[in-house]
């Protein structure tokens, strides 16, 4: 595998964005750009496959395991292809106390999915995440990149049903 693989996987615009990020760090510390690079790769490809992580690591000239570490550490990175929309539900202390368990149950009852699963129609993937720093609006969840706060089961049900 070579650094060129990423170029064949992604659009020229994405590569341009990646190079912009790499340019922000000293040349011998390209490694620092790993999070933006993986983010751009995921935006483009939908999820981070083994090949995509390998290509990103090679592009940055870092050990591949370093890319795997980062990709597995952060909950915003997806290693498996998921549904059309990714719903990240916070179940940390504040949200839990404000009722996130009920929200989680709704997914089970209505869509038949638990955290880590994708609905049958491929529309929704549910993820259980740790605190996303929006405790003031607990309970909260994130749809793709949009936060939704001060939820009730009804509010959330409308929101999720309207996703397509």
């Amino acid at each position: 595998m070579s650094a060129n693989d990423l170029k064949t996987m992604l659009s020229p615009e994405a590569i341009k964005k990646i190079d912009l990020w790499i340019g922000k760090y000293p040349t011998e510390r390209k490694r620092s750009a790993i999070i933006p690079v993986l983010t751009i790769v995921q935006d483009e490809l939908g999820h981070l496959s083994r090949e995509a992580m390998d290509a990103s690591a090679d592009y940055l000239e870092i050990p591949r395991i370093a890319a795997y570490e980062v990709a597995t550490f952060y909950s915003m990175f997806r290693l498996e292809p998921g549904g059309k929309h990714v719903v990240s539900l916070c179940t940390n202390v504040s949200c839990m106390m404000a009722g996130s368990e009920a929200l989680k149950k709704w997914f089970k009852d209505e869509l038949g999915i638990e955290p880590g699963q994708t609905s049958e129609d491929g529309r929704i993937s549910l993820k259980e995440v740790e605190c996303m720093a929006a405790c003031g609006g607990a309970p909260m969840l994130e749809v793709d990149k949009q936060y939704h706060e001060n939820l009730t089961v009804e509010k959330m049900a409308d929101l999720i049903r309207d996703l397509n």
């Binding site: 011998e28 390209k30 690591a57 090679d58 870092i62 395991i65 795997y68 570490e69 597995t72």
Partner: protein, 747 residues
């Protein structure tokens, strides 16, 4: 120096050191898991919490630098509470499988749990379990036992220079893993077994073989490279169970290469598929038959005597492995010289012997191994350190933290350290590339001093280099050397095997001399230095004594063919640079006697008598490493069957041939005699400059030996043979490690 107080003791210590270093240096025990003196500080296990006066929380001793007047309490209530709480957390998920764990009895977690653990756990939740990984034939994993100290991860990143392990996931889901199904391919990977404080990483070949407390520990020395790594050999019921490093800062630090660690498999009977040769073998009418020692040795003696009388002693040749012990080589040369010939050699991987008279007493590094890591500039010529002397590569890698490395090689070499200036020559223009550097340095020196090459001590060099071209790449390397304070030029195995190695050696010697660098050679096998000192070379006797001219080198003997050959621990067809030719020469020979440990030795193709000799770890002896350090050792296990140590076999051969002074009682007697011959050396033998006659523009580099094919033992280690390195399947592309990866705190 500042003074601090630890547990009521006043201690003077270097400013900037960590509490744990000061405590370790003064024999004060602080428990720890993630801290290791050779690795960067992670401070992630928190086991080393101590109380520091004036600080309201316990502090990790590994990551707290000392300050003047600091008062540290390692055993106060606060410290102990902290340590016990950490231990309680570590034990939440650690399985209670000590009875079936190979680490049991030598486990850091087990030991510390005795002191800091509770008798009963307060946690009734289920323990987490982690799927075991298959990371290759050398290391067994049991990842449920892992306590995430990350020593193995840091070792790969900082020491080995290839990051194969990592910590994926986070929190409860964190795992130490390669993430993808992949073997750990580093040539020093086995060290993570020693580093692992628990039983998560253990040695695969010795799994379930013996408990730590049942084994007996012996000291020995590794025969596979010229480093001479110090070994602790663990045996049980006269079987070698495993090999671990013996700390020696001057030689192997705390590390071993995988070759040093796993080659013992070739010695132990069940591990090597009973490939040991147990009885003397004789070829009678073309059929191999077993024989007793008396018959076999008498046959050898009478045959050799006959050849001496009918054809002359010069028709007998002796060739030794470069990894035989000094004593064995000394007796071999004494035997052959006693018969009246100087045809004895160990240099089967050298194809150019010219100017051998101008070599130093023995090929040496001329700086201590530990000084390698202090070099500001180092030029490596024809050296694949990572494969040839893996532990030296770790030292050079350390040098790259502050220093610069340049290489001039005739093939692509993948190092585990960053190289600043790399010249990849072809065998044909290798000499010219080196000459370019020499020429630039010579021109500079002549201009600066206003003198000729002759008066600089390099007679004829200007004439030799007059057509050489100086390119920018050459100037870069030359300047790198001249600018640096501590600098060295090191020749590797590739340079020695080159067909114009003498000219290459002289040019490099000139580069070193003109730039003020030290000049060193990394040699073949574990005992090249010992071979030179013992006189297992045709042009010099023991201790460099003068001998009559006309002794033939290994290559001459094999080219010309001999009536009789004596082979010691070597399979020429697998080891020599001109293997095929060598083998046919042996086949054509009238009488070949081989001293070998194996019943599948290549000698069965061409020998007439094969004598079963003790393998390494079964014989006493000594190796001399590339620094000239004389390291002796005793047998760790006794040899099986009728097998005898080679020094005894050679001794009896000497007796049967009626040679004088062959009455040694022990290997130590032999060593004393060799050492006695050293006294007369003085300054008589020194490396001298001799101008090569020309710089040929054609060259040939023999194919290098695989890292696990270098001697009869590595070749027969089953585990090593299963590795990607042995199969030539390793992933050569090594990601560049940023300088960040070289930074080590505290060391």
């Amino acid at each position: 120096m500042i003074s601090i107080e630890v547990d009521g003791r006043k201690i003077e210590a270097e400013e900037g050191s960590m509490i744990i270093e000061v405590a370790d240096a003064n024999g004060i025990t602080i428990p720890r898991f993630c801290y290791h003196k050779k690795l960067s500080i992670a401070a992630n296990c928190r086991m080393c919490l101590v109380e520091v006066d004036g600080v309201r929380k316990p502090l990790p001793a590994c990551a707290t630098p000392i300050s003047d007047g600091m008062v540290v309490k390692t055993g106060s209530n606060m410290a102990q509470d902290g340590q016990k709480s950490v231990m309680e957390f570590l034990l939440i998920n650690h399985p209670l499988d000590c009875p079936i764990c190979d680490q049991g009895g030598e486990c850091e977690l087990q030991d510390l749990a005795m002191g800091y653990g509770r008798d009963v756990s307060r946690f009734c939740e289920g323990k987490r379990a982690v799927v075991d990984k298959n990371i290759g034939p050398l290391i067994e994993t049991d990842m449920t036992r892992c306590i995430h100290c990350t020593r193995c991860v840091r070792f790969g990143r900082e020491i080995a220079g290839i990051r194969e392990m990592g910590a994926t996931g986070r929190g409860e889901h964190m795992e130490i893993t390669t993430f993808i199904e992949k073997s750990v391919d580093s040539e020093v990977s086995g060290n993570i077994i020693d580093l692992c404080p628990v039983g998560a990483l253990t040695a695969k070949p010795s799994r379930y073989r013996a408990r730590a407390w049942e084994m007996t520990q012996y000291d020995s020395v590794s025969p596979h490279d010229c480093i001479g790594a110090n070994l602790h050999v663990h045996t049980h019921r006269n079987q070698v169970i495993r090999v671990v490093p013996k700390d020696n800062e001057a030689v192997n630090e705390v590390w071993l290469s995988d070759r040093d660690r796993y080659s013992y498999e070739a010695v132990t009977m069940p591990d090597n598929d009973n490939r040991r040769l147990l009885e003397p073998m004789m070829r009678v009418n073309g059929e191999w038959q077993t024989a007793d020692w008396e018959t076999a040795l008498e046959k050898v003696a009478s045959k050799l005597n006959m050849i001496v009388q009918t054809d002359g002693a010069e028709h007998i040749g002796a060739i030794s492995s470069a990894s035989a012990t000094t004593e064995e080589m000394y007796l071999l040369q004494k035997l052959i010289r006693g018969l009246g010939s100087n045809n004895v050699d160990h240099r089967i991987r050298i194809s150019d012997y010219s100017m051998q008279g101008n070599e130093s007493l023995f090929p040496e590094l001329s700086i201590e191994l530990s000084e390698l890591e202090a070099l500001d500039a180092c030029l490596l010529v024809g050296s694949d350190l990572r494969k040839d002397q893996p532990l030296a590569a770790l030292r050079v890698r350390k040098a790259t933290r502050h220093g610069q490395i340049a290489t001039i090689n005739a093939r692509k070499i993948y190092n585990n350290f960053n190289v600043l200036h790399e010249i990849e020559a072809t065998p044909d223009d290798w000499l010219q590339q080196v000459a370019g550097v020499a020429k630039y340095l010579l021109d500079q020196a002549m201009a600066a001093e206003g003198v000729s090459a002759d008066s600089l001590g390099y007679e004829g060099l200007d004439e030799l280099l007059k057509d050489s071209k100086v390119e920018q790449a050459h100037i870069n390397i030359a300047k790198m050397l001249t600018k640096a304070e501590k600098k060295g030029v090191v020749l590797g195995l590739g340079a020695l095997e080159f067909n114009h190695s003498a000219a290459l050696r002289m040019l490099c010697r000139a580069i070193a001399g003109l730039s003020g660098a030290t000049f060193g050679i990394m040699t073949h096998g574990g005992n090249s230095a010992g071979a030179y000192l013992a006189g297992a070379i045709p042009h010099r006797g023991p201790g460099g004594a003068d001998v009559e001219e006309g002794g033939q080198t290994a290559q001459q003997m094999l080219n010309d063919g001999k009536k009789a050959f004596i082979l010691l621990k070597t399979e020429i067809g697998k080891e020599a640079v001109h293997a095929e030719q060598a083998k046919s020469s042996l086949k054509a020979s009238e009488f070949v006697v081989a001293l070998s440990s194996y019943n599948d030795d290549e000698a069965f193709e061409y020998a007439d008598i094969i004598l079963p000799i003790a393998s390494f770890l079964e014989t006493p002896g000594s190796y001399v490493n590339v620094n000239g350090h004389w390291q002796d050792f005793n047998a760790c296990v006794s040899a099986p069957g009728q097998v005898k140590p080679a020094w005894k076999v050679l001794r009896v051969m000497g007796n049967l041939l009626d040679l004088k002074n062959f009455d040694y009682v022990s290997a130590q007697d032999v060593m004393q005699e060799v050492k006695g011959r050293m006294g007369a050396v003085g300054d008589r033998i020194k490396a001298r400059w001799q101008c090569p006659e020309s710089l040929p523009t054609e060259g040939h580099c023999p194919e290098p030996l695989n890292i696990y094919q270098v001697d009869c033992w590595t070749r027969r280690s089953k585990a090593l043979q299963k590795t990607a390195l042995a199969k030539g399947e390793e992933d050569l592309k090594r990601p560049k490690l940023s300088p960040f990866h070289n930074i080590l705190g505290g060391v």
